[in-house]
């Protein structure tokens, strides 16, 4: 029976086991919100201090690429939600297919980010003292790019970690470790991936669409 196969000895039943696992994941996500929160606070303060600079500097970000990346992340959020649903219904093949699509979309996001970053490196829109670009009016334009690289950098790191976790889940699904009775690790990775999407939902208008 599923109860004996998946249940760790210190839980009463599978229900309690998976609820505990998800509770732990949600508490971790709470700390993630606060991790990004610190940079959001920095954004708020410096934008209030240098409103002109932020409006002038954001015009140098590519709204088209930012929009494409937003769409890519939303679709990847949808596909991982569908992958979890497939596992609830014991459809392993479809679950694996949706996980693979999610990983590919994360890859597309990173490739687009790479093009954005390399363009900024090239023209010298770099954080802090490395900033050499000339052509943004306003006080302290390097601060905008410090915050831009901090926010998108930490977010990009989360995308890479998320990709690895999804790949790990894909491997475990392939080996047959999960079933409709036990799939809480995929759910936890899904929650993490949705949080990465949630953060981007706020990053995109704050960095690309201000003004």
């Amino acid at each position: 029976m599923a109860q004996t196969k998946y249940l760790a000895h210190h839980f009463t039943d599978l229900e309690q086991q998976s609820e505990s696992a998800k509770m732990g994941m949600w508490l971790f996500l709470l700390t993630e919100i606060l991790l990004f929160g610190g940079v959001f606070v920095a954004y708020a303060i410096y934008r209030a201090w240098h409103p002109e600079t932020f409006i002038n500097a954001h015009r140098f970000l590519d709204v088209r690429l930012g929009t494409i990346n937003t769409i890519v992340l939303i679709v990847s959020s949808l596909t991982i939600a569908l992958a979890i649903r497939d596992m609830q219904l014991d459809r392993r093949k479809q679950c694996m297919r949706n996980l693979i699509i999610t990983i590919l979309l994360a890859g597309v996001f990173l490739v687009i980010k790479y093009f954005e970053y390399s363009h900024k490196f090239h023209v010298g829109m770099l954080p802090g003292k490395f900033y050499t670009f000339d052509g943004i009016e306003g006080t302290n334009p390097h601060i905008f790019f410090s915050i831009y690289f901090l926010l998108t950098g930490i977010h990009g790191l989360h995308i890479i970690i998320g990709m690895s976790l999804i790949a790990w889940m894909l491997l475990k699904v392939k080996k047959g470790h999960f079933s409709s009775n036990y799939f809480v690790p995929i759910e936890a990775v899904g929650l993490y991936w949705h949080l990465v999407d949630l953060i981007w939902i706020f990053l995109f208008p704050l960095l690309y669409l201000i003004g």
Binding site: G37, Q88, G190, P205, L209
Partner: protein, 138 residues
């Protein structure tokens, strides 16, 4: 037991996922389009564009949290945990902004936001020291 295992294995209908996904894409288009409309100039309200963008982002985030993250069906403790995180973040932002923007209103020695203030002379170096020496005693 049966009611709890039903709760755990709640399977969201497929159309809900597609409806949420479509709404998110639609709202993304709206927020991009809205950023090109200078609401602030039409109405004279300073940060209306910012408000519009944030309201759309909050709607999108709510959709993701409720349906993709299953908060609408799951144990409400998870929702509580998320809201606690957001509350802490709001306290963090609001209190810090009050300090950096309005410190001058309650501290008569520093009448301007701290970005416009010059550093006290002990942090600046010898150059400005002589000029402001008479102000150091209150």
């Amino acid at each position: 037991m049966s009611h709890t295992s039903e709760h755990k294995n709640h399977i969201t209908p497929l159309w809900v996922y597609y409806a949420v996904g479509t709404s998110l894409l639609f709202l993304t288009m709206i927020t991009v389009a809205a950023s090109y409309i200078p609401f602030s100039q039409f109405t004279g309200i300073g940060s209306l564009n910012f408000a519009v963008a944030m309201i759309i982002a909050i709607i999108k985030a709510t959709l993701v949290a409720l349906f993709f993250m299953h908060l609408a069906y799951d144990n409400k403790f998870y929702l509580f945990s998320l809201l606690a995180g957001i509350l802490c973040l709001l306290i963090f932002i609001v209190v810090t902004m009050f300090d950096t923007q309005y410190r001058g209103l309650i501290n008569p020695e520093e009448k301007t936001p701290i970005i416009q203030q010059t550093a006290p002379e002990q942090f600046v170096g010898k150059k400005h020291h002589e000029a402001s020496q008479e102000d150091t005693h209150h």
